[in-house]
């Protein structure tokens, strides 16, 4: 289940496939862009909140896909970065720093630094041990957050308002915040695309397939993996910054290990190693959660077995499923 089949499929089909590769992401972003116009006809607040959640978790899942799908680094502590981004907003705001740019800079710097330190230690280990050590770092941060009595401890804290932009409350007005999040999503997507297509991305994929050979032809796999880990951490920090602003609430629940598991589920559900697959996975996850929880309070009894079925039969997730249909 590495990304190989996906790439093989792309090269196997003639040039028009290049276009086809762009259609799905374009449709996806187009849908997000027109959602506010459609939502005007009813249930506006509800639909937009749902779309916002999808986009924000989409950024988080996509950042995980960057290291999981392209680097085969199974991080089980990715939600920690979501928490760092969110707590950067909450902690700075409680000290009177309400400016969005200051908070964003702090969120990105803190998550990148945490990724650099923990990544340097974690990447010494391989396979299952890597999964577990990233989990340990995530848990460390979770327990640290629960013990921060000054910042709400276990219960978390409610933010007085969204972040300020140049002293104005523009993020709280109309659809501004929605389009800011959409811009972040598109920006993050383009950045990840560029990274994956670059020489750096090719080396990263090379280390996924065979680190020893990469080393033999003169690359240091560890440096590339660490750089990817830091980029992914910072991007997820951005998602945390946005999440805190959307919910106007920050709590340790943002970084439980179950949340890290959910991010992995989103990436696999959408289709590993395709970037927009992670966004589709986030959408599928959030929408299924909404729809099923309306049918029954015990919706996880339906959702759980669905995940098992996806793991057993739908290799390559939702994208892989459709690719299979097209090929017949």
């Amino acid at each position: 289940m590495t990304g190989l089949p996906a790439e093989a499929a792309q090269t196997a089909v003639a040039p028009p496939a290049r276009w086809r590769g762009c259609i799905l992401p374009l449709v996806l972003f187009g849908l997000f862009a027109v959602a506010p116009a459609f939502a005007r006809h009813g249930g506006e607040g509800y639909i937009l909140a749902l779309a916002l959640r999808v986009m924000i978790l989409g950024i988080a899942a996509m950042s995980l896909d960057l290291i999981l799908g392209y680097g085969a680094l199974i991080s089980f502590g990715h939600a920690a970065f979501l928490g760092i981004g969110a707590y950067a907003v909450g902690i700075l705001m409680s000290h009177g720093v309400g400016d969005a740019f200051g908070q964003l800079a702090a969120a990105l710097a803190a998550s990148a630094l945490f990724a650099l330190v923990t990544g340097a230690i974690s990447l010494r280990t391989k396979g299952v041990y890597f999964i577990m050590i990233t989990l340990a770092f995530g848990q460390m941060l979770y327990f640290l957050a629960t013990s921060l009595a000054a910042y709400g401890g276990d219960d978390g804290m409610t933010l007085p308002r969204k972040s300020l932009v140049l002293g104005t409350r523009i993020l709280g007005e109309g659809h501004t915040f929605y389009y800011v999040v959409l811009a972040c999503l598109v920006g993050a997507y383009l950045l990840c695309r560029a990274i994956v297509a670059s020489r750096f991305g090719r080396v990263l994929r090379g280390t996924r397939e065979n680190p020893v050979r990469m080393q033999a032809i003169g690359f240091n796999p560890l440096a590339y993996q660490l750089a990817a880990y830091v980029i992914a951490g910072a991007l997820c920090g951005l998602a945390g910054f946005l999440l805190a602003n959307q919910t106007e609430f920050v709590s340790p629940a943002f970084m439980t290990w179950q949340r890290s598991g959910e991010l992995i589920v989103m990436v696999i559900l959408g289709g590993l190693g395709s970037l927009h697959g992670a966004i589709i996975g986030a959408a599928a996850f959030v929408i299924l959660e909404e729809v099923l929880s309306r049918i029954t309070e015990l919706w996880k009894m339906i959702f759980g077995p669905m995940l098992v079925l996806v793991a057993l039969f739908a290799r390559g997730g939702i994208l892989g499923f459709f690719r299979g249909l097209r090929r017949g």
């Binding site: 050590i133 327990f143 598991g261 589920v265 590993l272 098992v308």
Partner: protein
């Protein structure tokens, strides 16, 4: 006074470590022999506790309830193995994470659907209730001592099984090189199934043993699963001996850390600062320990030799 507290907390830590060992033993075998990440091991512990609660209430006797809960936990583990897990042995870790995560979601709500969301209480068996005086001024609950004794007995039994029986030899061989064992004509699938069922029963046994001292509730296995992973990673995956020592270590560090971290910090920091940092650091201690162990020994303290 302080020495008494230290002794009590040490015993508590031992008891916690023993429970962790019962859970981690199955996990490390499944992990080591089949290279299978079973996130659902924690819910098997939970299911064991629920079985115990249900059977104890039904029979009115703890011993009879336990005697029924064990085969039920075994049967449940085998059922999961046949329906889901055996189809995932050849897959990569991500598929296993996805599927077993789905099973966690299903079972956490499943027990809620069957037994309700309210915690179930299991009475401590009368023969093991009350406390005994270990030394003057030190009263300790008999039941917790019984858990320690039962855990040590199971640990001894496991040691004999793994090191002095033919099945145990195959398990050890499987942990070292499963493909070679299979090539030598051993039905590796059946071996996997036995190991899996046995691990599920051990987790269920741990759940049943703690049922009288903890509340039996949905999600009770989620956090202990993570601790069990910490144990097997520190101990070295596939190593029962490593799991045993790491479980005791984690149990002691966690329990003693939570009660004494502030006191120790008070030696170097002022009191309010010390109690704050102590509370922050105590729950993180075991994860710091794990990161440190993996930093110096990337495959744990007692890696299985390959």
């Amino acid at each position: 006074m302080s020495a008494t507290l230290l002794l009590v907390q040490t015993l508590n830590g031992l008891q916690f470590g023993i429970i962790l060992f019962l859970i981690a033993a199955g996990l490390t075998l499944v992990f080591g022999v089949m290279d299978f990440i079973n996130l659902a091991h924690g819910v098997q512990y939970m299911v064991g506790a629920y079985f115990a609660a249900a059977f104890v209430a039904w029979t009115g006797s703890f011993a009879a309830g336990l005697a029924l809960a064990l085969p039920a936990a075994l049967a449940f583990g085998l059922l999961l193995e046949v329906v889901v897990f055996r189809h995932l042995y050849d897959r990569d870790h991500l598929d296993q994470v996805l599927a077993t995560f789905g099973i966690i979601l299903f079972l956490n709500q499943g027990v809620k659907a069957v037994w309700g969301a309210a915690p179930l209480l299991v009475p401590i068996p009368p023969a093991l209730s009350g406390s005994i005086e270990l030394m003057s001024g030190l009263l300790y609950p008999v039941y917790r001592l019984a858990i320690i004794a039962a855990g040590l007995a199971v640990g001894g039994l496991l040691y004999v099984l793994v090191h002095h029986t033919r099945a145990g030899m195959l398990v050890r061989a499987g942990a070292t090189n499963a493909a070679m064992v299979s090539a030598l004509g051993v039905d590796i699938r059946r071996l996997f199934m036995v190991v899996f069922g046995f691990g599920a029963m051990l987790a269920g046994f741990a759940g049943a043993m703690v049922a009288p001292i903890l509340s039996v509730e949905p999600g009770m296995g989620d956090n202990i699963l993570i601790l069990a992973f910490v144990v097997i990673v520190i101990g070295g995956i596939g190593s029962i001996r490593g799991a045993f020592l790491a479980a005791l270590l984690i149990g002691l560090v966690d329990t003693l850390g939570r009660s004494f971290a502030s006191n120790i910090l008070r030696l170097v920091l002022d009191p309010s600062m010390a109690s704050q940092t102590g509370r922050a650091i105590a729950p993180m201690l075991i994860y710091i320990l794990m990161a440190a162990v993996l930093f110096f020994r990337p495959t744990g303290l007692f890696p299985v030799k390959r």
